[in-house]
């Protein structure tokens, strides 16, 4: 390890950066899809409910690697088909496909978490918002979201951790993120321990920093709430 020429520090840090970038974009995607998924699960239209259930069951159910493969090879086949030729590799950019694949999988988990968070809300307060003429969008934005955040944060924090680790799977489509860099280092120097421990430490640093963010979010979301325990 270390930053001297011939040290692996710089590579590990660069890979950490990529990991954070993939995870952050994937997480944002998952929040978006999760919100839509939860809306579908809670909808009074049975067709939307069924769609929500299908989404969460299938994407939570199949191995994530398979989803990534399908996104990557599937999308390149699709692009090749669209561009009409069978020339070279029509690459959907790896980063984008990776982020989408991760976001779609994690979104299925988020959907369940958001559903639970919404169902834990006080019915009375939602009714009050309805009674004051809020549209579903306003209701969601002004009342449901800020309160659901409170219930959703611990679960969502888990999903963030999941996404962070999941980003390691992206290496199969050619991106050198932290875990792949550790494997490269381990295989090249034949010293797996130092590389995996360094990777673990770097993951911990990310967790530590993101933990601060989550805690301040949680503190904000629980303003004015009397704690039960």
């Amino acid at each position: 390890m270390g930053f001297a020429p011939g040290g692996w520090g710089r590579d590990m840090l660069a890979a950490t950066g990529l990991t954070v970038a993939i995870a952050a974009c994937g997480f944002l995607t998952s929040v978006l899809l999760g919100a839509l998924g939860a809306a579908a699960l809670l909808s009074h239209l049975s067709i939307l409910r069924a769609a929500g259930r299908l989404y969460t069951t299938v994407l939570r159910g199949i191995p994530d690697l398979l989803v990534i493969y399908l996104f990557y090879f599937g999308s390149s086949q699709l692009l090749a088909l669209l561009s009409g030729g069978s020339g070279g590799f029509v690459g959907a950019p790896s980063f984008l496909t990776g982020v989408l694949a991760i976001g779609v999988v994690a979104g299925a988990y988020q959907a369940q978490i958001f559903r639970g968070a919404v169902q834990a809300l006080s019915r009375g307060e939602i009714e009050a918002a309805r009674a004051y003429g809020m549209s579903p969008v306003t209701l969601f934005r002004r009342i449901v979201l800020p309160q659901a955040v409170r219930h959703a944060i611990p679960g969502s924090g888990n999903i963030w951790q999941l996404v962070l680790k999941e980003s390691a799977l992206i290496s199969v489509i050619g991106l050198v993120e932290l875990m792949r860099q550790a494997q490269i280092g381990a295989g090249s120097t034949r010293q797996p321990f130092s590389f995996f421990l360094t990777a673990a430490a770097l993951y911990l640093v990310i967790t530590f920093l993101s933990g601060i963010a989550f805690r301040s979010l949680e503190a904000r979301a629980t303003r004015g709430i009397r704690k039960a325990v």
Binding site: H44, G124, R130, A131, G133, I143, R223, G224, I225, R226
Partner: protein, 260 residues
């Protein structure tokens, strides 16, 4: 006969309202019209369906049968068989709701917002009014109900009576044409009850239509123009307040008055 004289459009018109929870019907066809500027007291014993009736007016409960019209506009309800009834046109319901403010029996203040934020929430985000104006008005309202000092508190940190007053202020801030009050003075001490009833009397004088579920006989008799007595989901007695209290027709209502 009087064909040329146009009937004034009622602010709220309920007709033949039936409402069931599961297989139990709690409203058995209630009809009621409130004209502009009328104050209607809804009396009745606990569990008689008063809250349910009030909640049918703004579609928090969708009646299984019957119609609701707000200022002449009938709310369209989708009652296809095999599923619970619901409004066909969500936008219509939102529009009509923003003209009818409600004070809930259990207050239902938004727990993540301070009292002042609770009050300006709907005016700013539903009615799209200017935030600054709303704050100024909200503070004036809080002053009026005597909890200005608590404006930056969260609901969980208020006493019951303070919460109820905040809920009343929240409804007033909407400048609604129609007000639905569900026992708005239940948590207040007698002094404050007097205050709040005075506020309601002023609102009545301004010509707002009010439906008030109440246990305050004095209010029903002296302030409201009309009194309705609900019993087991049926209107047992209805008429001008003066009449009803002076000459009650229904045996049940006579009993109710006697015990009060």
């Amino acid at each position: 006969m009087a064909e040329r004289i146009p009937e004034p459009v009622p602010a709220v018109a309920l007709s033949g309202i039936r409402k069931s929870y599961g297989s139990v019907e709690v409203l058995h066809g209630v009809s009621l019209a409130a004209h502009e500027g009328e104050v209607i007291s809804i009396l009745g014993s606990s569990g008689s369906g008063k809250s349910t009736l009030l909640r049918c007016v703004n579609m928090l409960e969708v009646p299984n049968d019957g119609t609701v019209a707000i200022q002449g506009e009938e709310i369209r309800i989708d009652r296809r068989a095999g599923r619970p009834p619901r409004p066909s046109d969500a936008a219509q319901v939102q529009r009509l709701r923003s003209r009818a403010a409600m004070v809930f029996q259990s207050f239902n203040l938004w727990s993540h917002l301070t009292i002042l934020e609770n009050i300006i929430e709907a005016p700013v985000h539903v009615q799209g009014r200017d935030r600054k104006d709303c704050i100024a008005e909200g503070e004036a309202l809080l002053e009026r109900v005597g909890i200005a000092a608590k404006r930056n508190f969260y609901p969980a940190h208020l006493s019951g009576g303070q919460q109820q007053r905040a809920a009343i202020a929240r409804a007033l801030a909407m400048h609604p044409a129609i007000m639905l009050f569900d026992e708005p003075t239940s948590a207040l001490d007698p002094e404050l009850v007097g205050e709040v009833l005075k506020v309601m009397r002023d609102l009545a004088a301004e010509g707002r239509t009010m439906l008030v579920v109440t246990h305050e006989m004095a209010f029903a008799r002296d302030v409201s123009t009309r009194t309705v007595f609900l019993h087991k989901g049926v209107i047992e007695e209805e008429g001008s307040s003066a009449d009803v209290f002076a000459r009650p027709h229904s045996e049940r209502f006579r009993q109710f008055l006697a015990r009060a």
